[in-house]
């Protein structure tokens, strides 16, 4: 079975956080995972490459972005939405 969007996002986040994917909980925030702004833009770049999508994110106004980075779950949901939207 192909790896799910969720598993692929978790793998990318885990790599930035220097953790095993099994150590990542969906309700964790980037802060919980000690991911700083540079790790975040690297993770977004990895997500864009992995899914061949374009993620709308400006580091100057992370709160205004349509891409919700408040938790691992919200990132997974945002990626799922972008994959659905951009593959159609």
């Amino acid at each position: 079975m192909a790896e799910s969007v969720r598993d692929r996002v978790v793998r990318i986040v885990a790599e930035q956080a220097l953790l095993e994917p099994s150590d990542i909980a969906m309700d964790q925030t980037l802060e919980d995972l000690s991911l700083d702004s540079m790790a975040l833009v690297e993770a977004i770049f990895a997500i864009e490459e992995e899914f061949d999508i374009s993620v709308p994110f400006n580091a100057n106004e992370p709160d205004k972005s349509a891409f919700d980075i408040s938790s691992v779950a919200s990132i997974v949901a945002a990626v799922e939405a972008l994959v659905a939207e951009q593959s159609s």
């Binding site: 833009v41 400006n58 100057n60």
Partner: protein, 402 residues
């Protein structure tokens, strides 16, 4: 120690092709940022920049010169010509041996690299022009200035990203102040507005898609510009003896390192650089009426810079004017400090403070007098010019009215 004065200034930047036209644009709060006109712009997500407009290299340089001058060198030569002509200096004999050139740049001949990588990788060519190396090297501009005007003293190039020009001008200041040179040509140049240059910056996700609005609560990033600013720094006694027109005096310089993060600025590092420049100049914070801010328009820089100013200036922070001309010409990266020093010269010489344009909403984290949207008349005796680079390298100059 010798006193150091500025006796010539030159520029080409998104606001104008001379100092006079740049001063006029700054006085009027004109914006030089617009749609990028470069090859493959449709593949970029950032499509605006502060480009030098109405510029045709053929009008200024012959074919042999163009074969050796990258765009950043062309800008440097145009600015240097204006500055040296204004100073009235002719470099021959002993003066030539005691004069040099220190310039800042970050990308150097990046456009030349971009064009030639495209030729070999994308177009599959196996042969490039024989002069690519001397055209793209970071010291090409400094060397051509030295060769063209017969400057035989200390010459080199400084690369400290966004602080390159300020670091360069600081070195020139110290060389003249301690007697190692009689006159120095200094400033900086940048030309990164090519496909590869902008694409690299896009990756950081700190660029604005619409405008550079430093200190405004709705700011959303930096906008890149291009161009050059060049000055003649001269021993005061030498300038006085020959009856030269003096634009202003350079009185202090300081550099510090954050030793912390490769991209995030540090309030402490910035504050130490400003206090260091005041100390080097032998003046108090309360003597300073104007600060030309680094003011990039990013969330991180502007609030850190304002906190650093509040820290150094205390209660006087409320009365000092601080503006970012990047709102008008964009961020010229390694050349930015040089073009921004023009705003300081205008403040000291003409008593006009260049505004921070595009200012729309106050930000409680940037609660200073940012001279919003309109230039202001003010009598300024001392001013600072800030530059805080990626990599945590800070350089601040202090200048005085003459």
């Amino acid at each position: 120690m010798r006193r150091v004065v500025i006796t010539g200034a030159g520029t080409i930047n998104p606001l104008g092709h001379s100092v006079a036209s740049t001063f006029e644009a700054m006085r009027e709060g004109r914006c030089g940022i617009g749609p990028l006109d470069i090859r493959d712009v449709e593949r970029l997500s950032i499509k605006i920049g502060g480009q030098v407009k109405n510029y045709a290299p053929d009008d200024r340089f012959n074919r042999q010169q163009q074969a050796l001058y990258d765009r950043f060198t062309q800008f440097t030569m145009i600015a240097a010509k204006e500055a040296i002509e204004q100073s009235g200096l002719e470099f021959a004999g002993a003066l030539a041996a005691e004069a040099g050139v220190v310039l800042g740049t970050s990308g150097g001949g990046l456009t030349t690299q971009d064009e030639n990588y495209r030729a070999v990788y994308e177009e599959g060519k196996n042969r490039v022009h024989p002069f690519i190396v001397p055209k793209l090297m970071n010291n090409a501009a400094a060397s051509h200035v030295s060769m063209t005007w017969n400057l035989k003293g200390p010459s080199f190039t400084v690369a400290t990203a966004c602080a390159s020009s300020n670091h360069a001008m600081g070195q020139a200041f110290w060389l003249v102040r301690n007697g190692a040179a009689r006159a120095m040509i200094t400033g900086g140049s940048e030309s990164m507005l090519c496909f590869g240059g902008v694409k690299a910056w896009e990756g950081l996700r700190v660029m604005s898609r619409d405008a550079c609005r430093p200190f405004s609560a709705n700011r959303n990033g930096m906008v890149q510009g291009e161009g050059a600013g060049v000055f003649v720094f001269e021993d005061y006694e030498h300038a006085k003896a020959r009856g030269a027109d003096i634009l202003c005096e350079v009185v202090g310089f300081s550099m510090t390192s954050d030793a912390a993060d490769i991209v995030m600025p540090s309030q402490q590092g910035a504050a130490r650089a400003m206090s260091g420049a005041l100390r080097d100049a032998g003046i108090n914070a309360s003597d300073v009426a104007y600060i030309n801010a680094h003011g990039t328009g990013t969330a991180a820089n502007d609030k850190t810079e304002c906190a650093a100013v509040a820290n150094v200036f205390g209660t006087h922070a409320d009365s000092v004017m601080i503006s970012s001309t990047k709102s008008m010409h964009g961020h010229l990266i390694g050349g930015t400090g040089a073009v921004e020093l023009l705003a300081v010269v205008m403040a000291l010489k003409d008593g006009v403070i260049a505004p921070t344009i595009g200012y729309q909403e106050p930000d409680p984290e940037c609660a200073l007098d940012v001279v919003p949207n309109e230039a202001r008349d003010a009598d300024v005796t001392y001013a600072l010019s800030n530059a805080f680079a990626f990599g945590g390298l800070n350089a601040v100059l202090a200048l005085k009215k003459v």
